[in-house]
Symmetry: C2
Subunit: 222 residues, 2 copies
């Protein structure tokens, strides 16, 4: 099944659910290193969007950054990061678009599992803008899909998004936001989840989703 769905990844041996027997302590240490690097890349993304420097200086900066890219290219995974797990059931997906520690595109979302489901506090900057001063509606949908998927998986099973419906009550301002999600009900392999985004004045976006448990997949984060 892996080779049918992820032919290129399977061909290079990455991009799947990969058993990796690095001890948890060493995984945690490495995670801190890549998270620190990605944090600086995230600053760079923001500083690039907001730059007012002259063209000549921006060309010099681009060339300096291209040299850093070359240094990183000296040692690279041949494909996407995939999801790794060790025998202690520690799993890590540092490339994930929403919560990956090594991915500067991810805010990253730090999802907390609580008694009623999941929540996450996030502070979205200039990189997540759609309408002026507001979070891009697509970014809101992306973050909701992720936290609702994590809620559906409940740290014990794999789920994929079946259907996601997002309702925009008003514009979501850039800045500090709270995401929440909880399981509404379950029917066979379907898990129904409700979610929301709120600013200090209340809910800005609400969502409902149906998440599907595939037959026979290993446990991992969505």
């Amino acid at each position: 099944m892996m080779s049918r769905r992820f032919p290129e990844a399977a061909a290079v041996g990455v991009g799947g659910f990969v058993r990796d027997d690095t001890p948890t302590e060493q995984v945690d240490r490495r995670e801190a290193v890549v998270a620190s690097l990605a944090g600086t890349v995230r600053d760079l993304v923001d500083a690039t969007i907001r730059t007012t420097l002259g063209d000549a200086e921006l060309h010099r900066i681009r060339d300096d950054l291209a040299a850093v890219v070359d240094r990183l290219r000296a040692g690279q995974l041949p494909g996407p990061a995939g999801i790794r797990y060790n025998s202690e059931r520690r799993s890590w997906n540092w490339g994930n678009a929403v919560m990956g520690a090594a991915n500067a595109l991810a805010p990253p979302l730090d999802v907390v599992h609580d008694a009623s489901g999941c929540h996450a506090d996030v502070d979205l900057g200039a990189a997540y803008e759609g309408p002026p001063g507001l979070v891009h509606g697509g970014v809101s949908a992306m973050l909701l899909d992720h936290i609702m998927g994590e809620t559906a998986s409940a740290m014990r099973r794999t789920t994929f998004t079946g259907t996601l419906t997002t309702r925009y009550r008003r514009g979501t301002p850039l800045g500090p936001l709270r995401l929440e999600a909880s399981i509404v009900r379950e029917e066979g392999r379907k898990v129904f989840v409700a979610g929301s985004i709120a600013d200090a004045d209340g809910v800005t976006v609400e969502a409902e989703g149906v998440f599907i448990q595939p037959a026979g997949a290993p446990a991992a984060d969505g």
Copy 2:
């Protein structure tokens, strides 16, 4: 209305729909410069996710990048980029999360308006991963929200997302993808739009959305 909806942005004088009388030719030239810089930052995001270099070298790279961030911080907009437009009706939103030329988080999506609506070809790399080897479900929703919003606005009016429903038929592989969207019908201020994502084997995700035209807003991209 601006100051009520975007209080912080209005306070610093950015982040709104800003009239900026830079001539179009100069805007185009500057766009090429920031797009070139952002393209290299995008390479850096990918190379960071896929790095296998040792911890010490990653710390050195982080410090070198922090110095580049400092150089960029020497001249910055005080807030998000917002949307600018000149008297020739050229508008630019280089910070946009999905199509912003200066935003390394954006693929960026290059939306083409055609006879039946909009389409876009995009090639998603490691930074957009969710399940192993597959596009994050939230990324699919984000891209669909954007192209469907652009379709609703039809290059002549502002629209905001009201409701977006995304249906996942199967996993979307990382790599080359085609997005399409078209207007289904209009009712008063509501525009109903259908959209899809497809790989070489056909549609992987389909969506329907209701987009709302606010009263009295200037024309701009979503």
